[in-house]
Amino acid sequence: MKPSVIEMIYSQHDEIIRQWKNEVTELNQFDSTLPTNWFHETNEEFVNLIMGTLELEENEAKEQFRSFAERLMNAGWPLSYFTKGMQLFRRVLVQMLTSDESFESEKVFETLNEVEKWVDGVINQLVDEYTGSWENTLHLQKLALKELSAPLIPVFEKISVMPLVGTIDTERAKLIMENLLEGIIEHRSQVVLIDITGVPVVDTMVAHHIIQASEAVRLVGAECILVGIRPEIAQTIINLGIDLRKFPTKSTLRKGIETGLELTQRKIISTS
């Protein structure tokens, strides 16, 4: 940045900070997601940091912003706090430049240009920090979801249960199918009960995945019973015209297990 611009900003240093703090307080009233308790301290730190970038080496300034952003990100401050804060900062500067008549207009434009570049650079860096962290989080969550996807639990000899919990997308459906079939081979199950009590919505897509899974189960030589069909799920299945008649369904896991025992020529008897 040109020394003349830096000099200009420095000469107004205190005034800029005062105005910025004044205006930024209003942000808090619009955005209730900001943590109120240390709002003022953070503002203080933020504005000092912005000013600080004028003196520091580019890399050092970036590093300081990075650690500041990371800290606030972890504390749950929204990205909009930074972007709005920086936009406010720009507005304060512009106002100051244009209201002071001692500046020549040519110099004003030049200065504005420099300020734009500077502020945009800081905003871009902050946005990059945030999106990078979001993508990272998303990736970790996907991994976590993968780990909790659908175990096959052997409950009796030849009978296993797979409880499905949560929404089923194509990626998960593939994983479920693989776990299901490999589990069948491992436990030598003849009957598998797929329990959809924990699946919030059964639409055409989900039903399609379940039908495919049960067809694959049949190919490896076992049988599939769909259990845990709640009234509202039965309604949507019929209303959507999904044909599930090809494989047996039961309302509860208990009834499913009874059917499974029957299919393998066994039953539960009372010994009293």
Partner: protein
């Protein structure tokens, strides 16, 4: 290459040990039908445990051989289809609806017996 067909009482047992190529599959189809005719078998178990891949052509040959055997009065059960093979068939939209299946040779024989008694 020819796939060996074993006779056990009224049944025929086949364990396919390699990924089938087209010629071997067609040869097998012919051999099996001849054997059913020769022995007057009631039931056939084809074990596919060692088969790592079934494409649409091989699937069609297998589906056909099941139907042809049925025409000749022999029930066929396919056993030991691997998870990867099953999923691949489903992905391709090949369902093999009419073909009875079982986990392994032993359960396949049980299934044949049940079906023949019924």
């Amino acid at each position: 290459m020819r796939i060996p067909i074993l006779k056990l009482k009224n049944y025929l047992l086949i364990s396919v040990q390699v990924d089938l190529d087209d010629q071997t599959a067609l040869q097998f189809q012919e051999d099996l039908l001849n054997k059913i005719h020769q022995e007057g078998s009631f039931g056939v178990v084809i074990d596919l445990t060692s088969v790592e891949m079934i494409d649409s052509f091989i699937a069609k040959v297998l589906g056909d051989v099941v139907e042809m055997s049925n025409l000749m009065g022999a029930k066929v059960v396919l056993t030991g289809i691997q998870p990867g093979v099953a999923i691949t068939l489903i992905d391709m939209g090949i369902v093999l609806d009419e073909v009875p299946t079982a986990l392994d040779l032993e359960q396949g024989l049980d299934k044949l017996q049940q079906e023949l008694e019924a």
